[in-house]
Each structure stands twice: as structure tokens, then as C-alpha cells.
């Protein structure tokens, strides 16, 4: 069977002898042989014995409410060597039904209706066939949910799942906008959507473009093709890293920047905008990436760098003028004037999101009733704060607020097996952002907050233009991976204050092996941990690149620390070691 892509490339989907290659006859014969050799009588006797010994009450309890944490044996659910599930876990009647209806079915249905809503199946299909990341990630979405929600029950299951729903919806909206405006998918023509879309580096906040959201849209270049795909299917990004290195880039620069460059090398970003806005966030590698972006995109580009010594009062004016320069650039290039009222509307709406974020932090810090998993907290926070004000975030926050209120008023502890309250510091492994779920299930390590959640912590005043600009400047200076990592060592060592504020007794210290900024303070952290007698687990990783340190190796490092230093026993020993290298 021959298939033709948009670029008229021919792909042979099946070879002639593919049916033969499956060796169905041999497989059927082997199965038959196995059946013949089975002693069914003995099997039946064993089963009867088992039933006889069962505690009916306990069975009923487990069926209705799900097994107690220590008896779940979640590791047994994995198909050996794959990291895929044999079946989803039984969480008790209510939670399993909720998972099936309100998470699995609800989200699958919305993944279809969202496509219909934002551009239709034809556009989505064209995109899936043209862009590798789309083709590889769409159907793996529910496994992303499964990984992040493993072992959760009750309110934690519900609240965390709503976060995922928000991210999926906004991802679909963004890539559908990309596809609808894409010149490549529209016969090489620049349509109206192309003319009315602003593309920007994913580290440039969506807040910058509020003034055009009534007529235009802004979509980050790499947010979906690179960042989201890392979480959903961690195999996809490897190709882009290799592509960047194939043109001569060394292996040691930050693999995030490499991957961001790689999608341009492979021409795997839709051509959806006449302009591009770049930034120096978060590091030297980001600056380097923009050189490559310019080379490949070859269209009007505005660089909007943030100052490095950002809490120096003297730098603010400079930064404000750069933001205004960006606004002028968009006006000149697109002929569309910035709408101040529109800016105010979105900035004020975004403040509502920030207000709720503060409430969440407060509950996480001071009570045991915070119902959101570490991974849901981390991903949702970075996702919405980078994207800026959108309806879906308000919808999700409303749902989550109701759940949190219930937890607080009814004193529901969603993570009752917490042994240690953990703060995660520095940049997280994107291919294993759900380590928090595993760490709680296996060891009772409850990740309360992470460094990147604490970024963008700035209310946006709108009473005057000057105040608005001042706050927007601060907002952007405190962007993810940068607020703590640049501008002086005092920022990165705020860890101690946040540990205290969030009542944490342990640090999961992300050790991004290619992050020069964090490697450059490694020894000082070691000294401080010893001096302050703080338990810190160094978690080595290479951001999106699972080949450097695998998920399994990460788990082994945590296991070793928990056994040898903490002298603790796992809550669920089946999760200590399993091979999920081939998993999404």
C-alpha cells in the first residue's frame, strides 16, 4: 500500500509479505500446544482453594473502595519491558467509574469535539500527516493522563484530572490554529489566519500580546511541537535533538534548546505567521537558539531580551522600552494597532488566575488538604502562566476551586501516606514529570511545590499605562527557569525560604546535566545541604532527553537514597523497579 504525503513523498505502509511476516499459523499452533499441556483440573482446584480462603468482607471492601495503599501492587499492572498497563487499576467503584466516565471517556470525546470546534478533522488530519510530533502524540494523550494520575483517589483524582483537561484543550486549540494558518497545509498561500497570527518563542509570555487578542492570536513556536510532546510521548523529541546535532551542534548545550532548534532543522514547525518574537529566556542556549530560528524562519524578527540582573531597579526602564519596542514592531509589521482595553481585560482576567494560584499555594503550604498531584501542579502552572489568559483556565480553576473548598472544609487529606513533604528545585525532567506520582505511591514522598510553579508571581496593575508596563516587565523578568537561575546567586538560594514557607522537609534537587547555570552552583548547594542538615536527593536528568538518564535510573537513585540514607521501606515494593523505557 502506497501513501502520498502533502509534499508528494511516497510512503510504503506495508510490504508485500507483511501478512506472512506475522507468522500467524506458527503462533496459533504454539498457543494450541500450550492449551493442550494445561492441567485445567488442577487450575480449577487452585482457584477454588483461593476462593475458600478469601475474606469476603475484605474483597467487598476492596471492590467498593479500592485496595489500601500498601496492597495496591501498582507495579504489577505494567506489561514487563514496556511500561504500558495490562489494564487500568481498580480504584473502587466510585473512582473507577469516575475515571472511566469523567476522565477517559470525557477527554476522548472532547479530543474529538475540540478538533471539530477549532478547525475540523480535515485540518487535523493534514497536520497529523505532515507534522511528526502531531502524528506521534495525539493518540498517546490518555496514557499521559494514566501516568500522571496513577494511584490517585477521590478529590486528588478529580482535581488533578481537570488540570490535564485544561492543558489538552489549550494544546488542541493552539495546534489547530497553527494548522489552519499554515501556509504548507494551505497550498502555499498566506490566508487571513496566517496574517493574523503572531508567532513567538515559547519562552516569551503570551501576556505580551493581549492587546491584539480581539483580532489576532499568538501561538508559541515550540510549546506544542516540543514542550507538550515531551510529556505526552517522550520518544518524539529525540529525533529533534539528533537533527540539531546533525548540522554540527555539539552534544553538550541544553537539550531543550537543541530540541527547539531541531524542529526548525527538520522543518517541522508550521509556517503560520508573518513575524516572530524571540527572547533570551532562560539562558545562553536560548539566545543561541534564536540565531538558528532566524536562519530557518527568515522573516521579520523582534528580539525582546530581558535583563539578567533583573532586580536591579535601574534595569526596569530598559526592559519596559523593549516591551514597547515589541508592540511597535507588531503594529508596523501587521498594520494592527494595539488595543489597550483588550490588554486591560486580559490582564485583569489573568490576575484572577494568579489570585487562585496564591490560594492554592497557601493551602498546599499550610494544610494537609491540598488535592493536586505534584505533576499536575507543575505542568498546569507553567502551561497557563506562559500562555496567558484563556477561557479554559478559568473553567478549570472554577472546577478545581470547588474541589479544594470541599477538601478544606471537610478536612480531606488526599495524600494520607505522606512521609515527607518535598520541594522540587531547579528544572524538571520533562520525560519524567510524573515522577512525583511514582514517588508518592512508592515511598510516600509528596511533592508539595516545585521551583517553576513559583515563577511569574506578579499581579498586573491596569489603573495606568505606566503601572501596567511596570508590572508586565516584572512579570516577564520572573519567567520560568530564569527568575531563580539568573540575576545573582541569592535567587537560586531562595530554596531555604520556600522550604520553610511550604513546610517541606526534603528537597528533590533536579540536576539538569546540561544546564550550565545549575551545574555552576552544584558544589555550593552541596555545602549548604550539609551545613543545614537537609535531606536532598539529586535527580540527574537531561530535560527532554531520556537517553542520558532513564526514568528507571532516576527511580533507582531515589530508591537508593530512601533505603541507604533514610532507612525507610517502600509503601509499594512492586514500584521499586520496572522497565518503562519503551513507554510513551
Amino acid at each position: 500500500m502506497i501513501y502520498k504525503t502533502n509534499e508528494a513523498k511516497e510512503i510504503r505502509l506495508f510490504s508485500k509479505g507483511w501478512l506472512k511476516d506475522l507468522k500467524l499459523k506458527e503462533a496459533a499452533a504454539a498457543k494450541l500446544e500450550k492449551l493442550k499441556a494445561t492441567d485445567f483440573k488442577q487450575k480449577a482446584a487452585e482457584a477454588a482453594e483461593k476462593i475458600k480462603n478469601l475474606d469476603a468482607k475484605k474483597v467487598a471492601r476492596d471492590f467498593i473502595y479500592g485496595k489500601p495503599h500498601e496492597e495496591r501492587r501498582l507495579g504489577d499492572l505494567y506489561v514487563p519491558g514496556t511500561g504500558l498497563y495490562k489494564h487500568r487499576e481498580w480504584r473502587g467503584v466510585k473512582d473507577t467509574m469516575y475515571y472511566f466516565n469523567m476522565i477517559w471517556l470525557y477527554n476522548y470525546a472532547h479530543m474529538v469535539t475540540d478538533i471539530m470546534k477549532y478547525g475540523g478533522p480535515v485540518t487535523a488530519l493534514k497536520g497529523a500527516l505532515r507534522y511528526r510530533w502531531m502524528g506521534q502524540c495525539y493518540l498517546t494523550v490518555m496514557h499521559w493522563f494514566d501516568r500522571g494520575l496513577e494511584g490517585t483517589r477521590g478529590e486528588a483524582l478529580r482535581a488533578s484530572a481537570w488540570h490535564y483537561r485544561g492543558m489538552v484543550n489549550e494544546s488542541i486549540r493552539q495546534f489547530m490554529r497553527m494548522f489552519s494558518a499554515d501556509k504548507r497545509l494551505n497550498g502555499g498561500e498566506a490566508n487571513e489566519l496566517w496574517k493574523n497570527t503572531i508567532s513567538h518563542d515559547e519562552t516569551v509570555s503570551g501576556n505580551i500580546f493581549y492587546g491584539w487578542r480581539d483580532r489576532m492570536d499568538d501561538v508559541a513556536l515550540q510549546m506544542i511541537p516540543y514542550f507538550v510532546t515531551c510529556h505526552v510521548n517522550n520518544h518524539t523529541v529525540l529525533n529533534y535533538i539528533d537533527a540539531a546535532q546533525s548540522i554540527g551542534l555539539p552534544g553538550d548545550p541544553c537539550p531543550m534548546c537543541q530540541a527547539e532548534a531541531g524542529i526548525f532543522v527538520l522543518n517541522d514547525v508550521p509556517d503560520y505567521s508573518p513575524v516572530v518574537v524571540t527572547s533570551n529566556e532562560a539562558c545562553d542556549g536560548s539566545v543561541g537558539t534564536s540565531i538558528l530560528q532566524d536562519w530557518f524562519l527568515d522573516r521579520p524578527l523582534y528580539a525582546m531580551p530581558q535583563p539578567m540582573r533583573y532586580d536591579d531597579p535601574l534595569v526596569q526602564k530598559h526592559c519596559q522600552e523593549e516591551i514597547e519596542g515589541c508592540w511597535r514592531f507588531i503594529e508596523e509589521q501587521t498594520g494592527q494597532k494595539m488595543n489597550w482595553d483588550e490588554y486591560v481585560k486580559h490582564a485583569e482576567a489573568f490576575n484572577k488566575l494568579t489570585e487562585f494560584e496564591h490560594e492554592k499555594w497557601d493551602i498546599a503550604a499550610n494544610t494537609d488538604y491540598y488535592p493536586i498531584t505534584g505533576v499536575a501542579q507543575a505542568l498546569y502552572r507553567i502551561y497557563y502562566s506562559q500562555d496567558g489568559d484563556r477561557d479554559i483556565w478559568h473553567f478549570v480553576d472554577k472546577k478545581v476551586k470547588r474541589i479544594i473548598e470541599k477538601c478544606v472544609t471537610q478536612k480531606i487529606n488526599s495524600f494520607p501516606k505522606t512521609r515527607h513533604r518535598v520541594i522540587a528545585w531547579s528544572c524538571a525532567p520533562l520525560y519524567y514529570s510524573h515522577w512525583c506520582t511514582w514517588a508518592y505511591n512508592c515511598w510516600g514522598l509528596n511533592c508539595i511545590i516545585n521551583m517553576d510553579s513559583l515563577m511569574f508571581d506578579q499581579m498586573l496593575r491596569t489603573d495606568t499605562y505606566e503601572h501596567a508596563l511596570e508590572d508586565l516587565t516584572w512579570f516577564n523578568e520572573k519567567a520560568p527557569m530564569r527568575a531563580m537561575a539568573v540575576g545573582g546567586h541569592e535567587h537560586i538560594f531562595q530554596l531555604w525560604q520556600f522550604m520553610e514557607r511550604f513546610n517541606c522537609d526534603m528537597v528533590m534537587m533536579y540536576d539538569q546535566l546540561a544546564c550550565k547555570g545549575m551545574q555552576g552552583v552544584h558544589g555550593m548547594f552541596e555545602d549548604e545541604f550539609r551545613k543545614r542538615n537537609i535531606h536532598a536527593i539529586w535527580m540527574p536528568h537531561a530535560l527532554p532527553d531520556k537517553r542520558t538518564v532513564s526514568r528507571r535510573e532516576i527511580r533507582q537513585i531515589v530508591n537508593d537514597y530512601m533505603f541507604t540514607v533514610m532507612h525507610e521501606e517502600p509503601l509499594d515494593p512492586t514500584l521499586l523497579d520496572f522497565d518503562d523505557n519503551d513507554s510513551w
Partner: protein
């Protein structure tokens, strides 16, 4: 060629950061101000009462303690500096005028701030924010930063006169030094240059790490001698190259390239003279400080700049340097773990060859250059490829077959 006057003495001065001239200036009561990056204008640190020292860690071996602090996955230049500081090699410094212009040197300087590394009671370390663009907004910003974090601090800590008059005097002396370096560097443009790349690099480095007022006479002697210096009748080189790239303060590396037959005729790297040794011009209506800020932003070719036209012009600049200095190729050397130059080198390697027809030898190296054997092979092969290319062109021109 006959030995260049003072070159042996200059070589000796490069053997340690706190060299004889640094000690002499300190004994004369001047303040030693360290810096690592070209974005800290040395002219500001050379105002009366002070002298600038661009930090190097010559004769480094294995930076073990610094590797504990910064791991072995960071640029070795930064680590060697930290190691040298911990060994006491920078105790002569009265201040470190720091910039957050690349991550690892920034972290090195933060170690000086946070840990009690420099054993000098007067020592302080102050950071300046450096913009990523060359526009007017950036020049204004940079001017404010230099005023607050360099001049005000020097006055506050050491009572240094930072008036416009003092700055103008420093600019005058700086321009005189630049004029001499440019004069010396001009001999590299000859068909048969009368100065080697290594000799020039030694001279250039000495101007960066020694009190300038103590070497001016020696530079004049060198410039004088070069007027009559005769090249070897039969050149020892087989082709001429530009050395471009990141931090490079090791004359032995240039020597290695030249031993392979490639004469280094131009230096466009962090410690090079192109750009860096142009006159600072104070235009009408400008303050001296503003002129300095504008000069350092306008002239820099650092890959840190992000404006679209600047990113593109950098390639043309490098191609023009190669043309002006009659170079046959470009060696782009990047310090391992330097993120800026990882990307810049990758693109230069493609663009300079494809768009300008200039052969490029693209390498990655460590600060302590232990990979001499491998690099020698690379350079020899590069020289041979240039020779073959020339041969082919000659044959083509004479109607023969390539």
C-alpha cells in the same frame, strides 16, 4: 625572522596573573580591578588610580576543587579561574568588576561574592547588567549600569576620581594603546607578514593583563622594530587563517596552528583585537561614559547580540576580516560547554563556506589544551585541503584539469 624585542619578557609576564608588573603597580598604590568579559570596558578600569587585569589562569592543570563546585560539565575557563582563585592566585585583586554575560563566568564570579575566596580585606565583587542589543535604549541602559556599578562603586570603595576629566584621560591613554596595537597588527596584512600570530597574541594579551602605563614604552619599541623587520625569505607557512571563536588566551594554541603551516593573521575571539582595539570617539554632545558605552556595544561582535540584522552582519564581518587580512580560511575554535559559541560556530561553519566560499575548520577545545595530537591532525588536514583547493584553482585558471 629576528626575535621581536620584549617578546620573551612579555611571555614571562603571561605565566601568572599576579605578574611582576601587577605587583609593581600595586606597590605604587594602584588598585587592581579584575574582569573576565569584554563587556566590562577596560578603559573604565584604567582610570587614574586603578588598572585592569583581565583574568586568566595560565599553566592550569586539573581544576579539581573548582570541579567539585561547578562540576565537569561547565566551561573549563570558568573552572580554572575558580581553581586559581582558590589557590590564592587572585589575591592581588582589590575588586572584581563582574558581568552576567555568559553563565559560567558569572557563576565563577558569584563564587567570589559568596565564598571567602579572595584574601584581601578590601575586595568586593560588583555585577553590571549588559544588554543584548545595540539600540539606543541599550546604550542608555548600559551607561546607567556602568555609572552605578562601576564608577560609583570605585569612588565609594576606593575614593577614585570618576569625573569626566578622569574618563577623558583614560580614553586618551586607551586610544594611544589601541593605536599601537592596530599599528602592530597591520603587519599581519602583508602578503608575507612580518609578525606571527603567536607573537601578536602575546602582545595583545599583555595589554589586557598588565597595567598599561607600564608597557606603553615597550609597545612603542615593538612598533618601531616592526617598521624594519624583514620576513623570512622563504615563508614557513603554507596558508593564512583567521582564528575566530570564544575565549582564547593561550598563545601555545596559536603556536600549534602555526606549526601545522597555517599562519594566524587575524584574531576575532574573546581575547582578540578584532574588534576591541578601535579608538573610542567622544562625539559632540556625548558624555565620556556614554561614548564608552556606545563604543563597546556598537563594536562588539559577540554572539550574545540578538537583533536580527546584527546576527546576520556578524557573518559578513568575519568574512570581511578574512578578506582584509588575505586569509585562506577560518579556524573557529569554541571552548567546550560554551553555549553561545556552540550555536554560532555551527552556523558560521555552514554559512561562511556556503555563502562566502571561505573554508572553515570548526573545532571544540578545552581551556587546558590536552588534545594537542588530535587538533594537530585536524589543522594539518585543513591546511592540506586549502592547498589542494588553491592548486585546483590554479590549474583551472591555467586551463588544466583540476
Amino acid at each position: 625572522m629576528r626575535d621581536l624585542i620584549h617578546i620573551i619578557e612579555f611571555e614571562d609576564l603571561l605565566q601568572e596573573a599576579g605578574n611582576d608588573l601587577v605587583r609593581q603597580a600595586k606597590e605604587e598604590g594602584k588598585r587592581a580591578l579584575g574582569y573576565t568579559c569584554n563587556f566590562m570596558p577596560e578603559v573604565l578600569l584604567d582610570i587614574p588610580g586603578c588598572f585592569s587585569v583581565r583574568l586568566r589562569a595560565p599553566r592550569s592543570t586539573s581544576p579539581d576543587i573548582a570541579t567539585y563546585y561547578m562540576t565537569n560539565r561547565t566551561c573549563m575557563y570558568g573552572r580554572c579561574l575558580l581553581e586559581r582563585a582558590m589557590e590564592g592566585g587572585f589575591n592581588f585583586l582589590d575588586a572584581e568588576m563582574a558581568t552576567e554575560t555568559c553563565t559560567v563566568t558569572c557563576r565563577f564570579q558569584e563564587h567570589l561574592q559568596r565564598m571567602d575566596v579572595i584574601q584581601n580585606p578590601d575586595f568586593f565583587c560588583e555585577f553590571t547588567d549588559v544588554p543584548f542589543k545595540k539600540n539606543e535604549n541599550s546604550v542608555d541602559h548600559y551607561t546607567r549600569q556602568l555609572q552605578a556599578h562601576v564608577l560609583d562603586k570605585l569612588h565609594e570603595h576606593f575614593g577614585i576620581d570618576v569625573s569626566d576629566e578622569a574618563l577623558l584621560k583614560a580614553i586618551g591613554e586607551h586610544n594611544e594603546l589601541c593605536r599601537l596595537i592596530r599599528e602592530i597588527g597591520e603587519y599581519r596584512k602583508l602578503d608575507n607578514p612580518t609578525i606571527t600570530g603567536r607573537e601578536f597574541q602575546i602582545i595583545q594579551l599583555v595589554t589586557q593583563v598588565c597595567p598599561k602605563y607600564l608597557i606603553m614604552d615597550k609597545l612603542r619599541d615593538i612598533a618601531e622594530q616592526l617598521k624594519t623587520r624583514e620576513p623570512d625569505e622563504k615563508p614557513s607557512w603554507r596558508c593564512k587563517v583567521v582564528l575566530a571563536g570564544s575565549e582564547e588566551d593561550d598563545p601555545d594554541f596559536t603556536k600549534l596552528i602555526e606549526e601545522c603551516g597555517a599562519l594566524v593573521v587575524a584574531d576575532r575571539h574573546c581575547y582578540g583585537s578584532l574588534p576591541g582595539r578601535e579608538d573610542i570617539v567622544v562625539k559632540e554632545g556625548e558624555t565620556p561614559l556614554y561614548a564608552i558605552a556606545r563604543h563597546y556595544l556598537e563594536n562588539s561582535q559577540c554572539p550574545r547580540f540578538m537583533e536580527q540584522h546584527v546576527m546576520r552582519d556578524r557573518k559578513a564581518y568575519l568574512a570581511n576580516v578574512a578578506k582584509e587580512y588575505k586569509a585562506d580560511g577560518i579556524v573557529i575554535a569554541q571552548m567546550k560547554f560554551c553555549e553561545y559559541w556552540s550555536y554560532e560556530r555551527t552556523i558560521d561553519t555552514v554559512v561562511l563556506n556556503r555563502d562566502y566560499g571561505i573554508p572553515v575548520c570548526s573545532i571544540e577545545k578545552e581551556y587546558v589544551n590536552n588534545a594537542v595530537g588530535q587538533l594537530r591532525t585536524r589543522f594539518q588536514a585543513f591546511v592540506e585541503s586549502i592547498e589542494l583547493k588553491k592548486l585546483a584553482q590554479e590549474q583551472k585558471a591555467s586551463g588544466g584539469e583540476a
